[in-house]
């Protein structure tokens, strides 16, 4: 009996492991952009951590707010001090899944829908976006563009500078994940 159980456990574990192949990156790219007549805003970081679990179609992402760099240093300071309060809420995270099939072992670009919870500035919101996942050898390359509004995440913007920031910011995410 014990042997059967052990055999079953081993079988299932190997199945799970083989099926749940994970891909990871430590330098995922995130950038957000805003364009208004008054001012252009650009902030980017290459310090995002991401894991894609191909089998279970899950993915997670985490990035440090302080890692974002702006061309204007004062803007970066305001972003951390006044808007995102990065001492209090140091990171932004995403946890979710994707719908759509990736053909196993075949290189190509696959269109998927990513769905999950985005947490930043202490607020968690469900988000859904179209994305692409490209299989390239031992890599999965994820790419997504979506929009977020600062007010949805309790980031208050004084009326005096409201016109300098777009109502909804364009966010670009690029993750090149290697097989773990």
């Amino acid at each position: 009996m014990k042997k059967t159980l052990l055999a079953a456990a081993c079988l299932i574990l190997t199945l799970v492991k083989g099926y749940g192949q994970q891909y990871m990156t430590r330098n995922g790219f995130v950038g957000f952009y805003s364009k208004t007549p008054a001012e252009d805003i650009k902030a980017e970081t290459r310090q995002g951590f991401a894991i894609i679990d191909e089998g279970k179609k899950n993915l997670a992402f985490a990035v440090l707010i302080k890692g974002f760099t702006f061309p204007k240093e004062l803007m970066q300071e305001h972003f951390n001090e006044n808007y995102m309060e990065s001492d209090k809420y140091p990171k932004a995270t995403f946890n979710g899944s994707f719908a759509g099939d990736l053909a196993p072992g075949r290189d190509g670009v696959y269109h998927v829908t990513v769905k999950g919870n985005l947490t930043m500035h202490g607020v968690t919101k469900p988000v859904e976006m179209p994305a692409t996942i490209e299989r390239k050898g031992n890599q999965l390359i994820g790419h997504a563009v979506f929009h977020i509004s600062p007010e949805e995440f309790n980031v208050s913007i004084p009326s005096l500078v409201r016109e300098k920031i777009e109502k909804s910011l364009e966010v670009h995410v690029d993750i090149q994940c290697d097989q773990k």
């Binding site: 159980l5 456990a9 650009k42 004062l74 970066q76 300071e77 951390n80 001492d87 995270t93 004084p158």
Partner: protein, 300 residues
């Protein structure tokens, strides 16, 4: 016999499900583990606390325009509209050569004084364990007053010049920031032989954040005794209410110091809070980005 197998399978299945939710904590943990100590920013909102300089410097390629304005003394009576009829003004330009090296010039109406300074950020405080606990900035300033005194024709440029060197030690805590500033001041000419040409002082400053964009500031400049004896001088004590909007920092100031130049307000403040010799005023700082990379429009 099948029962334990079922249990086993159930256990395994739940383990698999549990693994799903840990994907997030997995990335979170890797992020936390790989995070190095980062420099602390925004210890103070500007390069001036009130009169005293802070550890902050101007970003590379940015220009700061500083207007420091003081009305007359509150105790000057109703005829002078409690000081509002008079004004002392310092206009200053500060430029960031690099992110850690700032130079500045200023002109104030008090004794028609020109001043220039250079400031180096030596160390920056870092958050996270094991990092640098404080920020250290070195500042050197030179001042020259040009006001004419017809009966004192011997006052040449050398006599009119003073120097101050300050080591600015600052630390940002959660809701407030503190700084401690030892100063060495040299005035080339002093009124009597009993007065010292070379003086030392110790200043302290604090900023307390009350909201995200508002804070209360205070500074106290302690001049060690028996250095200025021919005139009665007081230690400069100042308070300010600070408000920030975009690229502007605005401060409402109450102080007993009329001058805004270190060689003058630290060692030459002649009015005191005690008898109402208080100056009401304001500081306005405006930041301009001059570099091409800061001006460039966003492309994506």
């Amino acid at each position: 016999m099948r029962f334990p197998l079922m249990i086993g399978l159930l256990f395994l299945a739940s383990a698999v499900v549990a693994q799903d939710t840990t994907l997030l904590s997995q990335v979170g943990d890797s992020l936390t583990n790989s995070t190095k100590p980062m420099p602390v920013t925004g210890t103070f909102k500007g390069i001036y606390l009130i009169q005293l300089q802070t550890n902050e410097t101007i970003a590379a390629g940015a220009l700061n325009f500083e207007i420091q304005h003081r009305f007359g003394q509150l105790n000057s009576g109703a005829y002078q509209f409690f000081g509002l009829d008079n004004a002392t003004l310092r206009l200053g330009l500060d430029y960031g050569i690099t992110d850690w090296w700032t130079v500045g010039i200023g002109r104030s109406s008090y004794l028609k004084t020109f001043d220039g300074y250079t400031k180096f950020k030596l160390w920056r405080q870092q958050d996270g364990g094991g990092g640098m606990p404080i920020s250290v900035t070195l500042m050197g300033t030179i001042s020259n007053y040009t006001q004419n005194f017809p009966d004192e024709t011997y006052l040449n440029a050398n006599y009119r010049t003073g120097y101050a060197t300050q080591l600015i030690l600052a630390r940002k805590f959660k809701f407030f920031s503190l700084e401690l500033v030892p100063s060495y001041i040299r005035n080339n000419l002093v009124p009597t032989v009993a007065d010292k040409n070379d003086m030392v002082a110790l200043s302290g400053g604090a900023r307390v954040r009350i909201t995200k964009r508002m804070s209360l500031d205070g500074e106290y400049n302690y001049l060690f005794p028996n250095q200025v004896v021919s005139t009665k001088v007081y230690n400069a004590l100042s308070f300010a209410w600070e408000m920030e909007t975009g690229g502007h920092v605005f401060q409402l100031v109450f102080t007993n110091a009329q001058s805004m130049v270190p060689t003058q307000f630290i060692s030459g403040t002649t009015s005191s809070w005690g008898n109402g010799g208080i100056y009401f005023g304001f500081n306005i700082a405006r930041n301009f980005n001059l570099t091409s990379h800061a001006k460039k429009s966003v492309k994506y």
